[in-house]
Symmetry: C2
Subunit: 465 residues, 2 copies
């Protein structure tokens, strides 16, 4: 096939990108023009149109495409399974839905009319996730246009509800178990700490959240007439909440740490543990003194579970003062989880612990919120982690760091569990890309880097060392 | 003087009241028609008109009246000092200002058009305090109309800012120290627990209130990215607040209980300590489990200081959930005080205690609110307590109980301190009089009882046993 270019090195890929750049930019802009805001039902036709355009696009470049109907917006599932039998499969994940655009008056140019200023593309979704999704697609296209055929099977899962919690895809996972089987999974929806700090992310923490309500009397009471008689629900609440952690920052709930797994020494040695305490203090105004005192900061953030009070309210909180003993008080608490912790079991343990300690004179109620999910932690020794790490190192000319995330993306763990593959999370986002905010933007330099990294990582997976 | 009636017994006083009732009611209604709402500057002319009408009224019945200008609404000061030299002086306290009337649409009849339904008078101020103030005045009038002259000197202090904190009178106390000297002080602004339970009140607790603010980072943080790194200000706050009391309900702040006084055994034996736990549970839905576990309920409410959290707020408290570590959290706390506790010293002790325990990574700030004041506790053995107790017993035909109040009326302690007299607090209010609410009312049967009690108590003070 005369038209296919033989690209086997970084230089060849760079040349390919340079030659195709204007066409890529044109298609990228077309993709960005779809107002695929998933949260607002008024945009449903635009979300649908976007998914259809993308399905056609993937088909044109050589994929077999299925449009999966969900309870909400559709998920695109594209496959290229023409490698030899026994060849491994890489599943790539992204999303075509975007965040809302308000406050729209703060945008310097219309959010759905993409514009290039210098090397930066401004539009809603320019980075999150249409930009990252599109360099991934361009990388796959380049590989499919090579002379030699792909010796890796490729699956692409691009959903339309990431910005609203992935409920549709989540409900579909069991039914699509076979289709989603993969050896490697790459979640292309992440970022870097800084422009010149290449990194891959090998895990996210889980999350479970709940509301704790303490109730006393039928109605608010006067603190003069009842102070010393009524057990103040706010006092019961602060006593209960304070009892959840000891003076070393350890969670005191029996069983909370039970069954949690940790990395082995070899894996630990591959991870970037440095933590710049001075920089943290400068950035946030506080020293990193939260969490368990006998673990270093980076381990506390990535590898240790937490229990945080995210909200608390009770009694009079307006201006001035009111001598009230309120009828009730409540708090919202959440735990970041690590592998081995089951969200529902954690709720039960906390519930049991608090109920046992509830003082006579008040009642306590614990209600779990929907959402959240288990943690995911992948090994830095997996083939896919090694391939992407090598690709980042090559493209940046600087050693790729292996990091973990303290945050939670429930769909990642759910997909990984169903697919049964080794996971890596990556991306070229930067903290100042203004994602979820006005004037979102993404640099074409980073678009190219993403293109190169996806391509080279696949090449490394094709011929493992 | 032919017109004067010789009244020396309860029956004679009852007869007097029956004969004068229609005139008394007419004057009482006139008093109630003044819209003397102290909190709203728009009503200032009405407050002034009310004070002038009352000054004229007191003058007509035989008092020397001064109108004391204050920083706010005037205080009326009326005297009848015609007893023999060395005769003791009784100072009576009340107020002519009233609470606002909103929500006005819930009144069944206009709040400033008094109406008699059955034996109940409906109007703003019908009880609090115009009704109680006016039966006091009628009792004094009856005694002045007796044939034999009063052998007690009488002073009347009727202020116009009780409903807004008594700031004007409070500031005037030092300057008026001489005028306010008295042997006995009766605060006629209280109520009974039930219609058939005569009681006098011999003390109020003091109050001091403050805001505790805990601050962490410059801005709210994401609990995924910072959970385990940042010391959550809500966690610091609940730990600090919980540390203020031990598991026995005792305040743990060193020095908190220092210097507090208690009654002697004889005084204790004169007090009504019974507490109906079942009734409390029925009324408020909770057992009386608050406060210090090793004191009985009535003692905890009347004689022991407290520390209550009256409000708490931090982080996300709306519907649903938000994974935030907030930049700050705060609580409003107050202490009910007993004699021997200085409000400002208590703030300093709490401040020192909390600052010492503040964990690294957050800062704590304690700001005292203005207002509040010291406790007052009078002896049940004083002449004035004995006289009023006897009067209640005689009028109700049932033994008068000696009780204390857990609440706070700062002006009472301030007046008592300046006047240097023995104090009693009393009144014929009932919990369902709807004071401070729509459809306030007061029964003419209780008006008469108040009239009889004030008259008889003065007669008992005139000829002590």
């Amino acid at each position: 096939m005369k038209n296919k270019t033989d690209i086997s090195s970084l230089d060849v890929l760079k040349k390919y990108f340079a030659e195709k750049k204007s066409v890529i930019l044109e298609d990228y802009f077309t993709y960005l023009r779809f107002q695929s805001i998933s949260t607002d039902p008024a945009y449903a036709p635009q979300v649908l149109a976007c998914s259809q355009w993308l399905a056609d696009y993937l088909q044109k470049i050589g994929f077999d495409v299925e449009i999966w109907k969900t309870s909400g917006h559709p998920t695109l599932f594209a496959q290229h399974l023409h490698a030899e039998s026994q060849a491994p499969t890489l599943l790539l994940y992204g999303h075509y839905d975007v965040q809302p655009i308000d406050p729209v008056e703060l945008w310097h140019s219309p959010p759905f009319e993409p514009i290039l200023r210098g090397e930066e593309v401004y539009a809603r979704g320019a980075q999150d996730n249409k930009g990252q999704c599109f360099y991934t697609i361009q990388a796959l296209r380049a590989l499919l246009e090579r002379e030699r055929p792909l010796s890796l099977n490729i699956k692409l899962c691009i959903e339309g509800e990431e910005e609203i919690g992935s409920a549709g895809l989540s409900r579909l996972l069991k039914e699509k178990r076979d289709a989603l089987q993969a050896d490697y999974i790459a979640i292309v929806d992440m970022g870097l700490e800084a422009k010149d700090e290449p990194s891959i992310t090998l895990g996210v923490r889980g999350l479970v959240s709940m509301e704790v309500t303490v109730e006393g009397s039928h109605a608010d009471l006067h603190s003069g007439c009842h102070g010393g008689l009524a057990y103040n629900p706010i006092h019961a609440l602060v006593e209960l909440l304070a009892s959840l952690r000891d003076s070393e920052g350890k969670i005191t709930v029996p069983g909370f740490y039970e069954g949690i797994s940790s990395l082995d020494a070899k894996e630990k040695s591959l991870i970037s543990w440095e933590f710049d305490e001075e920089n943290y203090k400068r950035s946030f105004g506080i020293p990193p003194t939260g969490g368990e005192k006998n673990f270093p900061p980076q381990e506390r953030k990535w590898m240790r579970p937490t229990l945080e009070i995210n909200g608390i309210s009770g009694g009079y909180t307006g201006t001035g003062f009111k001598t009230v003993i309120p009828a009730k008080a409540f708090a919202k608490i959440s735990c970041r989880l690590v592998p081995g912790q089951e969200p529902q079991r954690i709720v039960s343990l906390i519930k049991e612990f608090l109920e046992k300690r509830t003082p006579l004179g008040v009642t306590v109620k614990i209600d779990a919120y929907p959402g959240g999910g288990r943690a995911l932690r992948a090994s830095p020794q997996s083939a896919v982690a090694q391939a992407f790490s090598e690709a980042f190192t090559e493209v940046f000319g600087k050693k790729c760091q292996v990091i973990y995330s303290g945050a939670t993306i429930p769909i990642v763990e759910e997909m990984a569990a169903v697919s049964q593959g080794q996971v890596v999370l990556l991306g070229l986002g930067l903290p100042d890309d203004q994602i979820h905010a006005p004037n979102e933007h993404f640099g074409m330099d980073r678009f190219e880097k993403g293109f190169l990294i996806i391509s080279r990582a696949i090449e490394f997976l094709e011929s493992p060392k």
